[in-house]
């Protein structure tokens, strides 16, 4: 195949990727956008394969076959709640692929005194790729709740990280400075970077993983872009930088929604409960609990109900039960809306995905800024497994670790029913005065069971 045609095809692929991403800007065009993206990728692979006339394709075909089967298997068997760890896993694979490609390319060109820029790009690609790989794997293990991985923290950890980073940089520099030993230094650099990825992520709390994953996603894009500089291939550069930008912006959005800086997520710790924060025992002195029957009675006389889902709904897989409840209420002339906090759950847009899975109409989902002014006119708010995103301390207590985080102001409603299993704290580890408020009632139960019980009580009564 003529090289000009390859170049032009790659340009077409670039354009398709951009249109694919543009498709994702609207729910209506998102499916098409994603298909455009995969079409583009397919085209890129086909063009690349046809670029070489005679070659032993066995290994390549085997590789693609294995990858496809494994990818399909993972994509179709995964639970929707396990999405974060799956993304992390894929991400890690991408990173490792970058490491291998850059390493292999180095072997090919090292004897032909490659250009400085190529050597630098190779080192960058290997460094970022390696950090992405181990970082993502650790993130995966944490989210999957694998037992052998705990939040490991020890003094001097930051120093260790710094040391690993500097060592990685140093050998990257040697790759470029002493090209005759480039291969040796390259793998040494990779080794240190692998270590860096582990120790960077291992100390970060499991609940902060989504931010880490978005950031690593950005890294894997940058690694691909760096590989593009290695191969002087503009397709890799463009696709990689699109992903790099996307990951950075998502990271940024999550940090803003949690009112924390990226540095704080990566290196800081949240204050442990009871430190100088309020004491849980004091806060929870006046908690009133309720039953499914009682909640059903309240709902029967309500005219406006808002449901606020949180991470607990995902854990309990309560979305279908919630959807049934919402349908029942709507049929009985109750206005039902959902209040969606941007960081409810553990992924940006987590609640939207779950509720969409349960067929809840798009129009009923309201963003924070839209729903907040309506709580004062709301008869009953049902909080299903949310905690931090409805904690009024974020507004009232300037010393709270989550101070400044925007919240759903459910405490302004006439009655708030909170469904959760205990008084244990959410991700941020702080007590929630909402649970003891005068207008609050706790329904201690698993999210799904509680909602099913309420619905049963409604149907009976």
């Amino acid at each position: 195949m003529n090289s000009t045609w390859i170049d032009l095809s790659y340009l077409v692929v670039i354009v398709l990727f951009i249109f694919g991403l543009k498709g994702l800007t609207h729910p209506r065009s998102a499916v098409r956008g994603n298909m455009l993206g995969s079409l583009a990728m397919f085209l890129a692979v086909v063009v690349t394969l046809f670029a070489t006339e005679q070659f032993d394709w066995t290994l390549i075909v085997i590789g693609i076959a294995i990858g496809t089967v494994a990818g399909c298997y993972l994509a179709y068997t995964i639970q929707m709640t396990a999405m974060p760890q799956l993304v992390a896993l894929f991400n890690g694979f991408g990173g490792l692929a970058s490491v291998l490609v850059a390493g292999a390319y180095l072997m090919i060109v090292v004897d032909d005194s490659p250009q400085a820029s190529v050597l630098i790009a190779t080192a960058v690609s290997g460094l970022i790729g390696a950090v992405t790989f181990t970082g993502s794997i650790i993130a995966f293990a944490k989210l999957q709740g694998l037992k052998f991985i705990k939040d490991i923290r020890f003094s001097g950890q930051k120093l260790l990280n710094l040391g690993l980073f500097l060592a990685g940089l140093f050998f990257a520099f040697l790759v470029f400075k002493q090209p005759e030993h480039a291969i040796f230094y390259y793998w040494l650099m990779v080794a240190f970077s692998l270590g860096l990825g582990i120790f960077l992520v291992i100390s970060i709390g499991g609940a902060d993983m989504p931010v880490v994953i978005a950031l690593l996603n950005s890294y894997s894009g940058l690694a691909a872009a760096a590989t593009g500089f290695v191969l002087e291939n503009n397709l890799l550069i463009v696709a990689g930088s699109l992903v790099g930008a996307s990951g950075l912006i998502l990271t940024q959005i999550m940090c803003v929604a949690m009112n924390r800086s990226l540095g704080n997520v990566l290196f800081g710790k949240l204050q442990p409960t009871g430190g100088d924060g309020p004491d849980a025992a004091v806060v929870y002195a006046n908690v009133k609990s309720t039953s499914a029957d009682e909640v059903a009675m309240m709902l029967e006389v309500a005219s406006r109900v808002v449901i606020v889902p949180g991470y607990g709904m995902a854990v309990a897989q309560a979305q279908h039960a919630v959807s049934d409840l919402s349908d029942y209420l709507t049929e009985h002339d109750v206005t039902v809306e959902f209040g969606i906090h941007p960081v409810a759950g553990r992924m940006p847009g987590h609640m939207n995905v779950l509720l969409a899975e349960a067929d809840i109409p798009y129009e009923q989902l309201k963003e924070m800024d839209i729903i907040n002014p309506t709580f004062e006119q709301t008869d009953v708010v049902i909080v299903v497994g949310a905690n931090d995103v409805v904690n009024p301390d974020a507004q009232n207590d300037p010393n709270s670790p989550i101070s400044g985080m925007p919240i759903l102001e459910v405490h302004k409603a006439r009655t708030v029913v909170v469904i959760k299993r205990s008084l244990s704290p959410g991700f941020a580890g702080v007590p929630n005065p909402l649970f003891a408020a005068d207008n609050s009632l706790m329904l201690f139960a698993d999210g799904r069971e509680a909602v099913v019980d309420i619905l049963a009580a409604l149907r009976e009564g």
Partner: protein
Amino acid sequence: MNLSQILILAKETQATESMTNAAGSGSHLILLITVFVLAVFIGFEIITKIPPTLHTPLMSGSNAISGITLVGALLTALAGEPFLVRIFGTLAIILATMNVVGGFLVTHRMLGMFRKKG
């Protein structure tokens, strides 16, 4: 063949020489960097328009795109004579293919949920 090469032919005139100097984008590398910078801008412009509802699909979808390393892996596997190069290349192909195929499929599954109600 690029400007600098053409102009080497025309080296006689002092005039054109100064032109080589200033024509810009003389080097391949700077063009690649330009492409990188422009693509980052496009990424920022487009991503900031994506509504929160679609952030999770965006995350997995863009993750799939980062599997573009697959093209690099193919090029390497195709190019590599040394045994190690071929092994690395094939491994990279497997990993990158999983990233690509899995990423796009899982995004499709997720988006399917949004569409059902439509």
